[in-house]
């Protein structure tokens, strides 16, 4: 890193702190393009090996070659934050990028979801992921690639199926249920039972053996890690490693619009206020800013996707403008994208940003909707529900070990893609080693059960 850039960063930090940003120290490092690309693929600088990353890598490589994507920076929140800048960034670009990184650092230090995730996972995810990767390499040495790959096939396929409302290290289910309250204790219940036609509660007298899971379980990674009948220790380790990384990824996913918007807001503001920057640096940096913070298509064109940088940036600009920085910081600390978009993306802003909703029909026709603000908000948020995955719960482990999964098609509005679901069950069966079944609905809306026996064949 050049002394110039170091100096600029130091002065930007001074300015940031003066403007009320609160963040943990940031380690800046310049790295080659190839490395930036791998981070984009793996999500972490060193992560476990799996062939599916190879597929993403090739997509990324192709896109990169075609010049469609350029990564300026990646920052991993933690203490310290680790910021990687592409070494082919110019000095002017890096000025902008460093300011941007400070915005991210402020966000991840103060936002509730990020704080919770950091409490859970710890502040050194980069090192932890590298340690996971190393343990998995050791497992490959010891148990062979095929077996380790089978574990990763299953664990990574269920990557999004965690429950972030619970702790990373949550305890197992209680082994005995607390005794039921005695019948007479609740006068209301006593009177209720006396009502005509209410049969005596027969379950009250039978000894209760807790059924597993006691309530439908959405943390499939956790459930399989702890309750798969024949899972080996090293396999459980891998499941839990994947799960821990998912806990880390969740806030990044759930706050993308806010987080990127916040960073853009701050790089723009810090540059504006950085009187120490020569005029030409400021101009070039602000040009880089406008290349990033704009709709994906050029000014005259129409694009069928939104740029979270652009939308987030303008939302924060308006919020600070209307309600002041203190209020904006409050929102930054407490919201995620759902609250942020629903509460603060209003009609006039949507109009200013030329947002519209559209319907794409199977016939190929794409038609603009009625641009109703609620519809626009919900369409922005739709891909973000439930960590971006369908809602699948484990509802029961039968006495023969059969794992019963249920897809909440009412909540998701339609059934699962059946062939894919079947392949995922095949992954799961190899870890569960007992029959596995899944309930959903098919394309016509009729109930559909996919059931595989312990060796993965349809039952």
């Amino acid at each position: 890193m050049t002394p110039d850039l170091k100096d600029t960063i130091a002065r930007l930090e001074e300015l940031a702190v003066g403007s009320g940003l609160v963040y943990d120290p940031v380690d800046f490092e310049e790295v080659p393009d190839s490395f930036m690309m791998e981070i984009a693929v793996y999500g972490l600088p060193v992560r476990m090996p799996h062939w599916s990353f190879g597929v993403r890598y090739i997509y990324q490589l192709v896109q990169h070659r075609m010049g469609n994507s350029r990564l300026f920076e990646v920052v991993f929140p933690g203490n310290p934050n680790r910021a990687y800048l592409a070494d082919r960034n110019t000095y002017d670009e890096n000025t902008l990028v460093s300011a941007h990184v400070l915005g991210h650092a402020d966000f991840s230090r103060n936002n509730l979801l990020f704080r919770k995730s950091r409490e859970q996972v710890g502040g050194r995810i980069v090192e932890q992921a590298a340690a996971h990767a190393r343990r998995i390499e050791e497992a490959i040495e010891r148990h062979g690639l095929a077996r380790v790959e089978a574990v990763l096939d299953a664990a990574l396929a269920l990557e999004q199926h965690i429950d972030v409302t619970r702790d990373v290290s949550r305890p197992p289910y209680p082994t005995s249920t607390p005794p039921r309250e005695s019948s007479g204790a609740d006068p209301f219940l006593a009177r209720y039972r006396e009502l005509a036609g209410e049969a005596a509660d027969s379950t009250a007298d039978t000894p209760t053996r807790p059924t597993l899971p006691p309530v439908p379980e959405r943390d499939l990674l956790w459930l399989i890690a702890h309750y798969a009948p024949d899972l080996e220790g090293w396999e459980r380790d891998i499941f839990l490693a994947v799960r821990e990384e998912s806990f880390y990824f969740h806030p990044v996913f759930a706050c993308q619009i806010m987080n990127e918007g916040w960073a853009c807001y701050w790089h723009a503001r810090l540059l504006r206020e950085a009187g120490f920057l020569p005029q030409h640096v400021y101009l070039d940096a602000i040009k880089a800013h406008s290349d990033v913070v704009r709709p994906y298509a050029g000014a005259q064109e129409v694009t069928l996707a939104i740029n979270p940088y652009h939308v987030g940036f303008h939302m924060w600009e308006r919020l600070v403008d209307r309600h002041g920085l203190a209020a904006a910081r409050e929102i930054m600390a407490q919201d995620d994208d759902f609250a942020f978009v629903r509460n603060h993306l209003d009609e006039s802003l949507a109009e200013d940003l030329s947002l519209f909703d559209f319907h794409a029909r199977a016939s190929g026709e794409i038609r603009v909707g009625d641009c109703d603000i609620d519809s626009i908000r919900e369409q922005i948020l739709a891909p973000k529900f439930n960590f971006g995955a369908p809602t699948v719960h484990a509802v029961h482990i039968a006495t023969d070990g059969t794992l019963e999964l249920v897809h909440d098609h009412v909540r998701d509005g339609r059934g699962l893609a059946l062939d894919r679901a079947c392949r995922v069950l095949e992954y799961i069966v190899r870890m569960w080693r007992r029959p596995v079944q899944l309930e959903t609905i098919d394309a016509t809306g009729r109930p559909h059960v996919i059931a595989l026996d312990a060796s993965g064949h349809p039952r």
């Binding site: 600088p45 799996h50 190879g54 990324q60 269920l158 030329s354 519209f356 199977a362 190929g364």
Partner: protein, 386 residues
């Protein structure tokens, strides 16, 4: 990996330059693709072009990227989204495709533009996969003691178990490379050479296989092509699996000739069909060179099933003669033009013979895809006569 713990450590080489994880996982993906290509073998081997490209012998197979499956929702008939741009409610951004105008799947069409790429396989790879499950039927022990399967060293490969690393050879490669490119590293992965081991079944004793083909006018170009495809894979496979295997190639019209392998695969003839000539020639060759006491004898005859009717008796005798000493006699009926309803002349003859000599069988080739079935019919381990 040792340095992974300390990103940015001030060593001379940054830790992230030590390896490309993306490239490694991509190679692993390709290995998996290769494995999945095995499932397409029946389709692969029916590709007649391979037979014509002896020499380099590489197959190029188009494949799709593998998908790592996750739970996803069913595709909706109508999908929704949010875009940015100056539009009015109700504007049509893209017209519906005209019915019948292409069969792109689903909404959006270009939503998941798949990357296709090509895997190169050598014919030897394919042959190895193909013959994993196959063997010569009724192979007998003609000279005392059985010899076991053995592993033989065969050539070098760029990959392999570390224990088989050939250091001398690898170093040579490194020297060669550095002679060309001055500033390369001392050793690179490209230099490594590993000794290869190949499983070979040692024939208990010598075997001879006669490949007989009807090349008369009634065999169309297409028929001959199909028969040759069949022969090609059989020859390749047998050669790779069995040492000291003799192959004899015989083609006939109203007379029969013995061919060298290369010419056999290019032969085309015209004229009538007298099958007995071929078998008489085979019988002579057996007498002169391949005494049944020392050789396992196999014959595979491909024809469209027609034979010159006055030749019927002679053919029965000649074929019977050979069948009597052969370990297995196969008949391959090639009928691409559509199979006749009743069994053909030759098929009937072979069925008759089957009653007398247990060790014969027949199969029909109508389409490319039948080649694999025919090979299985003759060579699958379970298909051996008890």
């Amino acid at each position: 990996m040792a340095d992974a713990d300390k990103p940015g450590s001030p060593t001379n080489l940054p830790w992230y330059d030590l390896f490309s994880r993306g490239a490694r996982d991509w190679l692993r993906h390709n290995d998996k693709v290769r494995e999945s290509v095995r499932d397409q073998l029946p389709r692969l081997i029916s590709d007649a072009r391979i037979v014509d490209t002896r020499g380099g012998q590489r197959l190029r197979v188009p494949v799709r990227l593998l998908e790592h499956y996750r739970f996803t929702l069913n595709r909706e008939a109508e999908s929704h989204g949010v875009g940015q741009g100056e539009v009015e409610p109700g504007d049509v951004l893209r017209q519906a495709r005209r019915p019948g105008g292409g069969d792109e799947a689903g909404a959006g069409g270009n939503a998941e533009g798949g990357i296709e790429f090509v895997v190169e396989l050598t014919v030897d790879d394919v042959v190895d996969w193909l013959w994993e499950e196959l063997e010569l039927p009724n192979l007998e022990d003609k000279h005392g003691g059985m010899e076991e399967d053995d592993l033989v060293r065969e050539g070098w490969d760029r990959r392999g178990a570390r224990s088989r690393l050939d250091r001398r050879r690898s170093l040579k490669e490194s020297i060669k490379r550095r002679a060309v490119v001055r500033d390369g590293p001392l050793m690179s992965n490209e230099d490594l050479r590993f000794r290869q081991l190949v499983e070979r079944r040692r024939p208990a004793q010598k075997a001879v296989v006669f490949f007989i083909m009807d090349v008369s006018a009634s065999m169309t170009q297409r028929d001959r092509q199909l028969a040759k495809t069949f022969f090609f894979w059989v020859v390749q496979g047998l050669r790779r699996q069995y040492r000291e295997l003799e192959c004899e190639f015989v083609a006939h019209t109203e007379r029969a000739w013995r061919f060298a392998e290369r010419e056999f695969f290019e032969v085309a003839g015209s004229g009538g069909t007298i099958a007995s000539t071929a078998y008489t020639l085979v019988d002579e060759l057996i007498r002169e060179r391949y005494p049944p006491a020392a050789y396992n004898i196999y014959t595979f005859y491909a024809s469209d099933g027609h034979n010159f009717p006055p030749d019927r008796e002679a053919a029965r005798d000649a074929i019977g003669q050979v069948c009597a000493v052969a370990n297995f006699s196969g008949f391959l009926e090639v009928a691409t033009a559509g199979a006749p309803l009743e069994a053909s002349e030759m098929l009937r003859l072979f069925n008759e013979l089957g009653q007398v000599h247990q060790r014969s069988g027949s199969s029909r080739l109508r389409r490319d895809a039948d080649v694999w079935d025919a090979i299985k019919a003759f060579f699958a381990r379970s298909a051996q006569a008890a």
